[in-house]
């Protein structure tokens, strides 16, 4: 099924996706060098889907398009959305766990991104669950 998302929503996903992709890449490299086959294979699945999603959303943050087509299968997209949902939740949790006077601009910004990513991935997952054969715009 073909899905598209609007530029503003794509930007939220992009921020979280780049963060998590960097983490996945580093973790996969470490697992390989440590001979950890099981973690390596799990991270392989994760990184592959994230790279594909970055292809869809464009790598550079300033992509000048109104809409972005998501070409991942429902299964892959759901996996990526669940992962990004967790990333968003972690950003919000980091904000909540930080004392008010310790909150930096980055932590504040992370909370904003995190809240939007949690909401967006929630909608995305709900849409995948309820998906039918018609092409549609997710948000």
């Amino acid at each position: 099924m073909s899905r598209t998302i609007k530029h503003e929503y794509r930007n939220m996903l992009h921020t979280a996706l780049v963060m998590d992709c960097a983490i996945s890449a580093m973790a996969l490299g470490d697992a390989l060098m440590g001979g950890d086959v099981i973690s390596g294979q799990l991270l392989r699945e994760r990184l592959e889907v994230e790279l594909r999603l970055l292809d869809d959303l464009a790598w550079a943050p300033d992509a000048a398009r109104d809409h972005f087509e998501l070409t991942l299968s429902d299964d892959q997209l759901a996996r990526a959305a669940r992962r990004l949902h967790c990333v968003g939740a972690d950003l919000v949790a980091e904000y909540n766990a930080t004392d008010v006077d310790q909150r930096t601009v980055e932590i504040e910004a992370g909370r904003e991104v995190g809240l939007k990513v949690v909401l967006l991935t929630h909608h995305l997952l709900r849409d995948i669950d309820a998906s039918d054969a018609r092409p549609k715009e997710v948000c």
């Binding site: 780049v18 992709c21 960097a22 490299g29 390989l32 060098m33 790279l51 943050p61």
Partner: protein
């Protein structure tokens, strides 16, 4: 395990000769359907698979009897198993036609030998042209069998070679993962994308060589993509260099 598609160049003569076999194979299905529109008879089922193979072959060689569909180098691009199954059906059809036409002896060579096809004796004169075409088609089928076998052999490696290559792929993937991480955190998008592609290629290569170093599921492994081998050659992998030379040798022959 085989990713992989055969790529076999073909000539206009090959195409025309194969289509002369494929079209009557398809027609047989039509005739069976006419005789048994409700599918109660065994004929329909018997004709269906060969006809499907004939359609597949016709798609691989682009259907039209004359000329190529484009200005590109005409190449059959097909999964080896599908191509072999289709060749089997074509040969069965040809053998049956020989029998129907009253050819007493149709002795075609072993699929894996390079001997010419021999068809001899007692050819009814009114069928000479068709029989000649069938003989040519059989020769082409045999050539295709040999080419598929050669390419599939080239795309697989044994356990020993795999054990030589795998650590190099692991090291390269680990390196590019680290570089991808750095490029993403430094917002170098062009470099990140390039490293992302390298990671994807190496992930597929490791799928073929098996992620588990010590307990792989098979003793036959797919060869990493040419771009991956080229990367490994830069890291002084003699195994990768041998494989790359072999693969490029085939491309040049093509």
């Amino acid at each position: 395990m085989l990713p992989i598609e055969c790529r076999i160049p073909y000539s206009l003569e090959m195409k025309t000769t194969l289509l002369r076999v494929c079209v009557p194979m398809m027609r047989e299905l039509g005739e069976a359907a006419e005789q048994d529109p409700e599918g109660k008879d065994w004929r329909l089922g018997r004709a269906a698979r060969p006809a499907a193979s004939a359609i597949r072959v016709a798609e691989w060689i682009e259907w039209t009897f004359t000329g190529y569909a484009g200005d590109h180098q005409p190449v059959i691009t097909a999964p080896p198993d599908e191509l072999r199954a289709a060749l089997d059906h074509l040969e069965q059809f040809i053998d049956r036609r020989f029998h129907d036409l009253g050819v007493k002896q149709a002795c075609h060579c072993d699929k894996r030998s390079s001997d010419a096809v021999k068809v001899v004796v007692a050819v009814p004169v009114e069928y000479v042209d068709e029989i000649q075409q069938l003989v040519e088609a059989l020769e082409i089928c045999n050539a295709l069998w040999r080419e598929v076998d050669a390419q599939v052999t080239l795309w697989t490696i044994d356990r020993e070679r795999r054990d030589q290559l795998r650590p190099q792929v692991v090291e390269a993937l680990s390196f590019y993962c680290s570089e991808l991480h750095n490029a993403l955190t430094q917002s170098d998008w062009l470099l990140a994308r390039s490293h992302g592609e390298s990671c994807s290629d190496l992930i597929v290569a490791l799928d073929r060589l098996d992620w588990d170093a010590d307990d792989p599921e098979t003793d036959v492994f797919g060869v990493p993509a040419e771009s991956v081998l080229a990367q490994l050659v830069e890291s002084d992998s003699s195994t990768a260099e041998e494989l790359l030379t072999a693969l490029r040798g085939v491309d040049e022959e093509d």
